[in-house]
Symmetry: C2
Subunit: 221 residues, 2 copies
């Protein structure tokens, strides 16, 4: 069964919302994700429910059905593979790949995606450090923490970001922070939770709690 561009975006939105702590996607949450009105969302949820992609009860919100999950993870797979292509092959900076991948992810061809995956060397993470689901929709798991959970003295390696906005990524460029950057945590301020880090060499930088929350790291022994 063929889904429209729009339907696909709704499924992806619901997936994103229910991926973490939230178990059920509310109408308003979806509306914010797809940047539309709550009324439009209600209509679409009804439609997607009729088609079997989501479980939806009036006033109770929506979750993806198994079919819905499949569609959403395949979209994410396509999105992230295209991001790798744009970054690795076409040399786009990481802050520019998301927007173009939003278009490319809707291209319809299984053969295309499996060939692209191969061409790229079956990458397991995209340019932001997000895992790329395999063709069965399985994600690679990884031991990671957001940088606001660390303590003074710990050594960490940047492995991802939880925010893909151009502004945030450009700010990281400015700080010369990218995937693979290693830090030692020098201090965590009680007052505003800002964190002072020392880069591999000697440079020191201080970031706000806001920034730390959006940086994913893994611990180094």
């Amino acid at each position: 069964m063929l889904l429209t561009f729009t339907e696909e975006n709704y499924l992806k939105a619901i997936f994103k919302i229910t991926e973490r702590a939230v178990k059920v996607a509310s109408t308003n949450m979806v509306a914010e994700q797809v940047n539309t009105s709550a009324a439009s969302v209600t209509d679409m949820l009804k439609k997607l429910s009729d088609k079997g992609y989501i479980n939806y009860e009036k006033y109770k919100g929506a979750t993806l059905s198994p079919t819905g999950v499949k569609v959403a993870t395949q979209l994410i797979r396509k999105h992230r593979l295209w991001e790798v292509f744009l970054h690795d092959k076409l040399k786009f900076p990481w802050e520019q790949v998301h927007e173009i991948a939003e278009q490319l992810e809707h291209i319809n061809s299984d053969d295309l995606i499996s060939r692209l995956d191969n061409f790229l060397g079956n990458p397991r993470f995209d340019p932001h450090g997000d895992p790329i689901p395999n063709s069965e929709g399985k994600f690679m798991l990884r031991n990671q923490t957001s940088l606001d959970m660390v303590h003074s003295g710990q050594r960490v390696l940047v492995v991802g970001v939880t925010q893909h906005s151009v502004d945030f990524l450009k700010y990281l460029n400015q700080l010369k922070v990218k995937l693979g950057t290693a830090f030692k945590v020098m201090a965590v301020t009680d007052y505003d939770k800002s964190i002072t880090l020392e880069k591999d060499g000697a440079e020191t930088l201080t970031i706000t709690h806001q920034v730390a929350k959006n940086l994913l790291v893994k611990f180094q022994k």
Copy 2:
């Protein structure tokens, strides 16, 4: 000004129709190209005319305006560059690239296309031998004839096809005819205009007039 997927397809259709002998695209011709009804075409021609992309007079048919030509050639540029990508990088056979490129051509990003062009080594022809317009929309011209215009004794090199249907291209695969294949014309039958060719080595094959018409060749001295 942003065009919809559908509007772009109409402009491309009018371009294709008026590219050769026909000077004006009639409603029915467009309807056949975009695979829709004449009534729908009339509506769309009115709209595209209002927006300044075509010159259209009731009952007289349509031609592209300068802006329309620009849009259409950029679409063709994108289409053919993606075809090169699919064929050269992802190793799709030439009969499969068209369909996927029909989707990819609508992706919107000038930067993407200029990077893709570079990544591919600024190719000047697509996998079917069609010239790729440059970013100003200029086409490379080439001395070429369709194979039904040749005479016995002439030596030719296959440089293109005028038909991109999967069936036709698969038939050529079967005959082991591809871009760059060299032939000597052995005989042209008066009766049915079928042509007997000798391949570089020694193999001989006979093709119908229908096939010959759709093969583009250039002469070898």
